[in-house]
């Protein structure tokens, strides 16, 4: 044992050994050592939430690998065939070649079902990890200058991932995916004036036609993956250019990055983490059924199954449709205006666009032009965190509405009650979430401030000679204090006349927004305040602390 470890600890690659010679050979021809030196010494800070983007990247790799396998056997055709495979309840049934080949992959190709399930579970994880990654970026303020564009790129990736997911979901041409496609087709038809024609264009004639699976296949395996790859590359280039953000801490500044270099530590960890993610996906895929197309059977426009839902990431759109009151329809200018489709579409588009451009809105409201490489703790940006919480609540209400029927059956509610409750929650929920979150954040800031200035409550009660009982406060150590006090402050914009001495309505509006954004803010502690507290803390801490509470 001891000799083995000793050998392992000193990897002796001789300059004239095989590796040395091979490395030299490569370097003389490619000058790669400069790149390795540059990238190998790039630093990545260590925090679990910084790995969420990596989870997305790794699940995308898993999707690419399994997807390639599936393309060998899948037939993107709506030609009608009679199924004659292993699944008895579909024997002799007419279906499209797409579903027939999907069933063939599931039951007759060795490892086919596992590959299908890995592909689908990895797809769900891909979008989920992007979502969680975006939440992390949002709530820590990592989208601020200079990273606004990378936020937009990441957002585009999120939309592309949803498009990838939806096109994939629709490919097997089973009953569930056909029902989903019908809803999309109906939504497109509901767009005023152009909807019907866009629908014809997409489906190559009236719904469902015989072209859609082939078209979605091209999108799914060629166009969208190419875009996803390009945007991932761009996203990562920006991460390298900007360097990674980090949480505040001793020794961490806006000018440095504290963490591990890529080679050898970070590359080893990240590589290992790839296999962990891959392993979790395979474990899920081997134990849990996903998208049992053999149960859904072939698509036919007449049947529909109870509990028909899209995959989770399209759920918010489906939910918004379900939340609309019925009968909102008018007949104007010889056309039907389907408000129950137009309104949800407008709400969804506005919501998504607001998410995409939020960094610019916040920058405009705060007027903050500084670069930020130190992350905010969510509590220290109370208004942003509150806006985020309101957005999450809004999304969650739409999302929950998509499963309203299952909520009703599983919790024994009436479906109307569930729908009306969620309708209320959609409007009232974000408002409540905003105010509650904002107050909680400010309270937490005050708590942090109290701890930084006066120390922790130790739980030790002391009786003073005068008979008074006080609780002893323990001062925090230097490192913790650094984390507690290192939030940077920013003041609201004030109304100033422009170069021509005018105060425009726009300026006033911007100043009002800025005042609202910074309302009730706590100015960061100054060095003097901290030192004063420390100073008197060293002197007669217990007595005066107790007295002040």
């Amino acid at each position: 044992m001891t000799t083995e470890t000793a050998i392992a600890e000193t990897p002796r690659i001789k300059r004239d050994g095989f590796f040395g010679q091979a490395a030299n050979y490569l370097d003389e021809r490619t000058s790669i050592s400069g790149v390795v030196k540059e990238f190998g010494r790039k630093i990545f800070p260590d925090h679990w939430s910084f790995l969420l983007g990596e989870v997305a990247l790794y699940s995308f790799i898993v999707i690419l690998l399994t997807g390639t396998f599936l393309t060998f056997f899948f037939q993107a055709s709506m030609a009608e065939v009679v199924y004659n495979g292993a699944w008895v309840p579909l024997k002799g049934i007419q279906m499209s070649a797409a579903l027939d080949s999907t069933l063939h992959i599931s039951f007759d190709i060795r490892g086919g079902l596992l590959m299908r399930q890995i592909h689908h579970w990895a797809a769900l994880l891909f979008v989920a990890s992007i979502g969680l990654h975006m939440l992390r970026i949002f709530f820590t303020g990592a989208f601020r200058k200079p990273r606004e564009l990378n936020w937009v790129i990441g957002f585009t990736l999120f939309v592309l991932a949803m498009a990838e997911g939806f096109t994939g979901y629709s490919l097997p041409d089973d009953l569930l995916s056909g029902n989903g496609l019908r809803i999309i087709s109906g939504m497109i038809e509901g767009i005023p004036l152009v909807g019907t024609w866009i629908n014809f264009l997409l489906f190559g004639g009236a719904y469902p036609g015989t072209a859609i699976v082939g078209r979605l296949y091209t999108l799914h395996i060629l166009l969208l993956p190419a875009f996803v790859l390009a945007f991932i590359a761009l996203h990562l280039v920006f991460v390298v250019v900007h360097k990674h953000t980090q949480f505040a801490g001793a020794g961490r500044t806006q000018q440095n990055v504290v963490g591990y270099p890529i080679l050898p530590v970070y590359a080893g960890k990240a590589g290992g983490f790839f296999f962990i993610v891959f392993g979790v996906i395979v474990l899920m895929a081997s134990l849990f059924t996903i998208n049992p197309v053999w149960e859904y059977g072939p698509y036919d426009p007449s049947p529909i199954s109870a509990g028909t839902q899209p995959d989770w990431y399209i759920g918010f759109a489906d939910g918004m449709l379900r939340l609309m009151p019925p009968h909102l329809e008018t007949y104007w200018f010889h056309r039907t205006w389907s408000w129950f489709i137009i309104i949800p579409l407008v709400i969804l588009v506005v919501f998504i666009v607001l998410v995409a451009i939020y960094p610019f809105i916040e920058a405009w409201v705060t007027g903050d032009k500084r670069e930020h490489h130190i992350l905010d703790r969510p509590r220290n940006a109370a208004t942003r965190t509150a806006i985020g919480a309101a957005g999450v609540t809004f999304y969650a209400a739409m999302w929950a509405a998509a499963s309203g029927d299952l909520i009703a059956t599983h919790f024994k509610f009436s479906i109307e009650g569930v729908t009306h409750t969620i309708q209320t929650a959609l409007i009232v929920g974000p408002i409540i979430a905003y105010f509650v979150t904002k107050r909680v954040c400010i309270a937490l800031q005050k708590k942090d401030r109290a701890i930084a200035l006066h120390g922790y409550e130790s739980g030790r009660i002391v009786r003073l000679p005068g008979g008074e009982f006080i609780e002893v406060h323990q001062p925090v150590d230097e490192y913790q204090r650094w984390e507690l006090v290192s939030n940077e402050g920013y003041a609201p914009l004030v109304v100033r006349p422009d170069s021509r001495g005018r105060i425009t309505a726009g300026t006033r509006f911007r100043a009002a927004m800025s005042r609202w954004f910074f309302e009730d803010r706590l100015a960061p502690l100054t060095q003097t305040e901290i030192e004063a507290a420390q100073h008197h803390g060293h002197g007669d801490a217990p007595a005066v602390e107790g007295g002040s509470h």
Binding site: L176, V265, M284, F288, E295, D300
Partner: protein, 276 residues
Amino acid sequence: MAKLNQPTTSGRSTSRKRKTGRRSPLATFALIAIGLGLTGGVYAAANATPSASADTASSTQQQVSDGEHLFQANCASCHGMNAVGTAAAPSLIGVGAAAVDFQVGTGRMPMAMDGPQAEEKTPQFTDAQTKELAAYVASLAPGPAIPDAQYLTGNTDAAAGAQLFRINCAMCHNVAGAGGALTEGKFAPPLKGVTPAHIYEAMLTGPQNMPVFNDRNITPEQKSDIISYLTYLEKNPSPGGFALGDLGPVAEGLFLWIFGLGSIVGLAVWITAKSN
């Protein structure tokens, strides 16, 4: 058809009597009885499903009278002393043995309490008692009978059954028979663990909010195919692993967010905590 013949023969006998020129004092009553019988018979034949004809054949008089006692003790408070119904519950005249066997055999009747719909629970009566109640209700008027065992084998054409199920049943019961929501707190129950006889009777009698699928709509053979499909699903667990309740993307999404992403986050915390 058997029912239609009977009144016609008795009709002939009255015309013979008329030839004698003398009317029995009972003739008026006989005429009324025949007229009523004829109208009722035609009406019943037009309304009843073909399977209704075999009705009470297998039930004995003993079963009927035992059933009557059970009915009066347990059901009459809502359905009325002669099963003619009250404000609280519908009449059971003509619902047939199938309806009783389904409602009582699955524990839906007697109801525990008023609600959006009668819910399945542990049956209150033994199988023999259920059959007696069924015999009694069937003896009141013709109605759909308890199905023949030949339709309940569960090994007929599952593929045809699956197709019928998707077209006729899946919109409420879900393609895999996992159940679904209806309006105002009502629901289509899951079909796992329901006996073939009860599935058949439900199709035939349309309990609660379920529509009636009579034998002209879905023939007994087709009902048998549907039963075979459900039996197949029950006997062959999902080839893909645990089925997550057969609830589709909602269950999959929940599982992914809670267990999938949950374990990934846990592992990420672990892998970053190790170095510090």
